[in-house]
């Protein structure tokens, strides 16, 4: 029997969420871990999905099941849940991964309930492993709990598929191969009026000023070492140069230098960017717990004993007012070299 490892290809207006490609990457790895007859397949629901289906193949989907209908143009929980539930029932996949985005978590929770299977939310580590009392390897889905203080590995023994939502940017994207071969299977899900129990009246683009720290790839944060509210102008310059957003330690928020929206840490936001630059932040535990999972942490601090250096991938002992302007200059120089 074919063991299907499914990935939900999340899209909005025909554009895939990058997490979909990350999931195809991790699904491939999981499929390889079980080794026999395991295939990686993508599930795509929307309207005019032709191009996206091909893209999914390039990212490693061996088969893409496409539900393509004007009724699915924009995401609505019930029709999408109905479609996925029907597909799962038809093909009986072994594992089903969905991005832990707002859309993905909304959808996965409904689909799992509708099918009657287990779902592990917001996972950060996935593996196939032996579990006592079961013949086949199970999906070991690991996730943080209790505010990130504990990690728990969850299994779903008796129900299929084993579902998990996976936090974006935890896994690296599958490589894109232009010549990858795969099959596109069109599925028709009859939509009756009672399935459309909601209608989208309008879309509102979020105003640019709202801070999206949680999903930022690049964050430049300032701390008490800035010495005052003005210091954030420099932080903003560096953030703009890198295409990142501005974060802050609690001290600066308490001092009124910057708004609470920017606060990273225990009482602020937990972030996990690819690059976190901490400038003038001593590294109180309450700050560290909010950012220590970042992929790369660059800390700039005058005090060589600042605890922030304990979690930094790289630390610079020096005056941030010297280092950051130099850093901006160097980045600009390298960008120019690239274009010129």
């Amino acid at each position: 029997m074919t063991r299907r490892f499914w990935v939900y290809i999340e899209q909005e207006d025909g554009k895939a969420h990058p997490v979909a490609w990350e999931l195809l990457g991790v699904a491939r790895r999981l499929a390889d871990e079980v080794n026999d007859n395991a295939v990686v397949e993508g599930i795509l629901v929307g309207h005019n999905m032709e191009e996206l289906a091909k893209e999914a193949i390039q990212y490693g989907a061996q088969t893409v099941y496409v539900v393509d209908d004007p009724a699915f143009k924009s995401y609505l929980n019930k029709p999408y849940t109905t479609a996925l539930t029907a597909l799962v029932k038809k093909y009986d996949p072994e594992v089903f991964l969905v991005g832990a985005t707002t859309l993905g978590r909304d959808l996965a929770g409904a689909v799992a309930t509708s099918i009657g299977t287990g779902l592990t939310a917001d996972t950060t580590h996935l593996a196939m492993g032996e579990v006592k009392g079961t013949a086949q390897k199970l999906l070991l889905a690991t996730r943080p709990a209790f505010g990130g203080n504990v990690i728990a590995t969850i299994v779903c023994r008796d129900y299929r598929p084993q579902m998990a939502t996976v936090r974006p940017r935890v896994f690296t994207s599958a490589p894109r191969q232009a010549d990858a071969k795969g099959e596109i299977v069109r599925e028709v899900i009859p939509i009756t009026p009672d399935m459309i129990n909601a209608e989208i009246l309008e879309f509102i683009t979020n105003d640019a000023s709202s801070v999206k720290l949680e999903y930022a790839d690049i964050i430049v944060s300032g701390g008490r070492g800035l010495g005052g509210a003005k210091g954030f102008e420099l932080i903003k310059q560096l953030a703009d140069e890198l295409g990142g957003v501005v974060g802050s330690s609690r001290a600066c928020v308490d001092a009124g230098w910057i708004k609470y929206d920017h606060q990273v840490g225990q009482t602020g936001k937990t972030v996990r960017p690819k690059l976190y630059i901490a400038a003038g932040i001593s590294g109180a535990i309450q700050h560290k717990v909010g950012m220590q999972e970042s992929d790369f942490i660059l800390a700039i601090n005058r005090d060589p004993h600042a605890p922030i250096f304990d979690v930094a991938t790289m630390g610079i002992v020096g005056d941030l007012y010297e280092v950051i302007p130099a850093l901006i200059k160097e980045i600009r120089a390298r960008k120019e070299a690239q274009h010129g």
Partner: protein, 105 residues
């Protein structure tokens, strides 16, 4: 009085923020129970003992010599009300239910 004036460098440096992690607060997002009455008075205050004596380090200076209060970390002891030399702190208790909540005491 040789022994009463122990050198200050005798004091260990303490990261008060780390210590405050042990505390539970119900922070009032709507109302600051501590306020500086006249910012200019702080600018003119040379000593600024509040920076030192506040047991949670809630008082901090900013450029220009003004003083900011991180009222969210206040443990409501009252020292600043009593000891601010120019009596420039407007001191109230947080609204009912807000502020520090000791777990052990």
């Amino acid at each position: 009085m040789t022994e009463t004036n122990a050198p200050k460098n005798d004091l260990p440096e303490v990261y008060i923020d780390d210590i405050l992690m042990s505390l539970k607060y119900f922070a009032d997002e709507h109302e600051a129970h501590l306020k500086i009455i006249d910012p200019q008075v702080c600018v003119n205050c040379k000593e600024k003992p509040c920076i030192q004596f506040c047991p949670v380090g809630a008082y901090r200076t900013q450029d220009g010599g003004t003083v900011q209060i991180a009222f969210q970390s206040c443990v409501e002891c009252g020292t600043c009300r009593v000891m601010c030399p120019p009596a420039n702190v407007s001191w109230k208790l947080p609204r009912g239910g807000f502020g520090v909540a000791y777990k052990f005491g």
